[in-house]
Structure formats: C-alpha cells, structure tokens
C-alpha cells in the first residue's frame, strides 16, 4: 500500500500535515504526537523580526468552530533558525516553514534567510485576515498575488506553496494568479473572516473585533473551494479547513487535494493528526486502494 505523495518534487511519506498556527513548531505537541509519523510539519508563520501579535482576548468559540485573531505572534526568523529548525531536524518528516510579512521586502528577507536552511518547502501566507498590513492585503487582489508569487519565486531555493484566502468572490482567480506567478503548490483555505458579539459585555468577543473562523463548521466551504481550484489549475493542492478525522481528509483528497492539513482539531484532540494518518490507511485497506494517488481528484 502506498501512502506517499509528491508535492513539487518533495516526497511525503503520507499526505497528512497540520495547519500553520495550530501546532507551533511541533514542540508542544511532541508529547502526544510522534512527529516521525507525519508527512510534514508546517510551522507557525515566521516573519523577519519578532511580532507580538494582537491584544487579548484573541479567540472565541462559535458553533462548530472558533474565531481567532492571534495576529501572527512569532519569534522572528533568527530565533526560529536557531531553535525551531534544529528541533524539527531531529525527526524524519518534511519541514514546511510558513512565511509572513507586512511588505514584499519582509517576505523576501525571510525567504532569503531560509535559502540555505534545511527546510523542504516554504508556505507563503498571503491570507492571514488578522493583521492590518501584509497578509490578506496580498491575497485578495489577483495582480498582487501574481506579483508577490513572482518575487518570492525569484529568491526561494525551495518549492513555494501559496496559501490562499477564502475571503474572495472567486478563489480560482487567485489560484490562477498564483500559478501564473510561478507557484509550485497551493494551500487552501485560510480562515474565513467572522465576528462574534458578547451580548453580556455588549462588545466584541475578541479584541480585534473580527477573527478568522476555523473548525468543522467551515469544512463544506473548504471542500468546495479545493474542488474548484483543482479543476482550475494544474498545481498540487494542500487542502484544509475543518479536518478533524480521516473521513474529512478523504473528502478533500477525493475533491482534488494531494495533501491535507489538520488545524483547529489539534486544539481539542492533540492526537488528531495521527488519527487521520491511521484512518486513511484503514480506508485504503477497506476499499482495496493500492496507491493513495489514485484517490486524488477522483470525484469529478
């Protein structure tokens, strides 16, 4: 039985990773999850300098999901290279570094800094809804998507994944723009912008007013978008959005995702990634599927 998949020349032992920002760099989850069993570890977004993030409260629960506005708190690329990369190198898994920035120059600085580091891929976060500059400002305009993809591609030594926002009218327009800019892989979806009002305090539930919605409630939207993008571009896709079980993950794969990320589920089930890995194998056995690649985009 083959569970390995190929993302722009990077071979993952299985298609399961976790979504950026839900798993740190794996240190906190290492006591629950054998990181060797994951196809890849995707780090929390890292910028050129430390970012303190947003004021609290930063999260709120909503029905079947949550809102977050962490604001990409991160230690900056220096600490990341000294501490997080050596930690991850101890494991037999692929390392995908999520890169964030306020300006194109910020992104390039991090990308250049990572050029000679032992990381396998870069995921370019042009879709965070919780920061005022950068992030989603790049991800909602096809010209900006193409331009930043081109710029990053000029400097990147590793294959680049462009992470797309669902907060657009037609996500295939952004996917095509990223493809035109030279992206190697697409990942989707980032969170959906939402809001919750605390009726007792009569104010916003989170300090940032809006937050990115994630969790099982967003999964049908994410599956639909993965399906649309898979049919619009020829790039491999990392699908995510509400994946908590192998059944969820298989929906994304059948819709056209080559790999999948487990996000919010990590917060309530620290074993979720492993559950998905095992569940996919069980499914393949029960359906007599020899190669997981035969499932990708099977549903037309």
């Amino acid at each position: 039985m083959n569970t390995s998949v190929n993302l722009a020349g990077v071979v993952l032992k299985n298609p399961v990773m976790e979504a950026s920002g839900t798993f740190g760099s794996g240190m906190e989850y290492g006591e629950f999850v054998d990181l060797n069993k994951l196809g890849a570890v995707v780090t929390k977004g890292v910028a050129n300098v430390p970012w303190p993030g947003n004021p609290t409260p930063r999260i709120a629960e909503v029905h079947g999901g949550m809102l977050n506005a962490i604001g990409l708190q991160n230690p900056g690329i220096d600490v990341f290279c000294e501490r997080d990369i050596p930690f991850l190198k101890k494991y037999d898994t692929k390392i995908i570094v999520n890169v964030c920035g306020k300006t194109t120059e910020d992104y390039i600085e991090v990308v250049e800094r990572l050029a000679n580091e032992p990381v396998d891929m870069l995921e370019i976060n042009i879709s965070c809804p919780n920061v005022k500059e950068g992030g989603i400002a790049f991800g909602q305009d096809p010209k900006a998507v193409e331009a930043i993809t081109k710029e990053v591609k000029r400097y990147a030594k590793q294959p680049i994944i462009m992470k797309l926002s669902p907060n657009v009218t037609d996500i295939t327009v952004m996917a095509k723009a990223a493809e035109a800019g030279g992206a190697d892989v697409l990942s989707l979806i980032n969170t959906l912008t939402g809001m919750k009002i605390d009726i007792n305090r009569q104010t916003f539930a989170i300090a940032n007013k809006t937050g990115g919605m994630s969790g099982p409630a967003v999964k049908p939207i994410a599956v639909r978008m993965v399906y649309q993008v898979a049919n619009a571009v020829s790039l491999p896709i990392i699908g995510m959005g509400g994946i908590a079980t192998a059944e969820d993950a298989l929906e994304f794969i059948l819709a056209g995702a080559t790999a999948v990320s487990v996000g919010t589920a990590n917060f309530y089930n620290p074993y979720a990634t492993l559950d998905v890995v095992k569940g996919i194998e069980d499914y393949m056995r029960s359906k007599n599927v020899e190669d997981i690649n035969s499932l990708i985009g099977l549903v037309k």
Partner: protein, 261 residues
Amino acid sequence: MSQHFKEQAAVISSKRIGTDVMELVIKTKDVAANSAAGQFVNLYCKDGARLLPRPISLCGVDKETGTLRLVYRIVGKGTEEFATLKEGDTIEIMGPLGNGFPLDKADKAAILMGGGIGIPPMIELAKELKEAGCNKITAVLGYRDELFLNEDMAQYADVVIATEDGSVGTKGNVLDAIREQGVTGEVIYACGPTPMLRAIKNYGMENNLITYLSLEERMACGIGACLACVCKSKEKDEHTNVNNKRVCKEGPVFLAEEVEI
C-alpha cells in the same frame, strides 16, 4: 515541565453548592497523581459543536485516591453541559496544565485571597501550604453575596470574608476586608477577576509583600501552542522573545511584578 495526560475520568459526584456554582468530583488515572495547587485541567464537552476545552482550576487534589474536586461556575453552554453530569458518567479531561503556586515560602505567613470563582484553587493551596508547614494562613474570601467553600477553607486557615452587599463580613472587596480586619502576612497568593488582581498587585507593592497572582485568559489548546492566552510580561517570554507570557504554560501563576495586568 510536567507531563500532560489526556484521559476519560469517571464522575464520582456532581452537585450544586450555590445558585450557579457546581462541585464535580472525578476519578482520574494519572492526572490527580501529578497535580498541585494552582494548576488546572481542561474539560471537554461531549457536544461536538462546542469544540474548545474549558479550563477549570483544582479545588481539591487527592493523589492517593486519584480524585480531583473541581468547583466551577455555570457561565455558558459548556459549563451547563458539565452541570448535567452524574455519578457513573465519564468526562474527557487533560491535565495537569500550567504551573501551580510555589510552596517554597511556606515558612512565611500567608495571605490567600480568592474572589468569586477564584476561591476554589485557594482551598487546595491552603491545604498544601499547611502540609508544607505553614503555620499562619489567613484566607480572605470575596463574594458577591452567596458564600461557598468558606467552611472548607476553615479547616486550613483563618477565614476573613468580604461581601459586596455586606451581608456577611466586611462590606466591599477583599482589600477592604484586609484593611478593616487588620490582616497581616508576608506572602500573598491570589486568584480572582482581573480588576481584583490589579488592586492586589498594587497593594502588594505598596506593602512590600511577595505577591503571586493566578491569571485567567481565553485559551484554546492549554499547552502553549495556540498563543491565545498571552499576558503582558516584564521579561521577554521564552517562546516568542517579546513580552508575552503564556498563561497556560508559563502561568497561570505569576509573580505580580512580572506581569502587566
């Protein structure tokens, strides 16, 4: 750092001890045996629409029997669900989480200050301080009106009470009670709403007392990964190297001068 255990705990009893205050006693496999005063556990809802765990403080830890006593206030749908638990049910938990109160100052006279649902962890702390040899413990408990756990506290400490409506003890808050009833000590340990902790921080500094505060913040994972529950800290934090300590991981107990609240 201590290990975290995620397990199904068995409900031994669940009862109402106040209008909206519940006492839940659960038997755990590993969590209780590794827990200490000031730490907390995550409780998970059975209703899948309520994803995030609810962090609940430890009111009582019995390492020998492996039981935890949790006292919480019903404040929303999650705690409403917990309130329906009965003997023989199970509940998913993870813990122990965070760092507890230090016990290395048990040789000094202690003032324990609990406000509202910040009172429960003070019970276990009083017990552990007494076991550690602390021979002067004064507990100052602040309530809106209805008392709970004050009799439990009396086993371990001299109890001073403040009520907002003045129905019992000093009319006002815990600091009003300290002043009115002449409470003295060398170390303050406090848990309660943020405005109360802010006032206690100032009081501790004015009176040159070592002051430990147990903070609260909205959290998701409980193990330091999601970065939801940060507080402003004086020192750079170990994770991000800014000034954001994680309440769930570096806390919830902090030296007062270490945090900006």
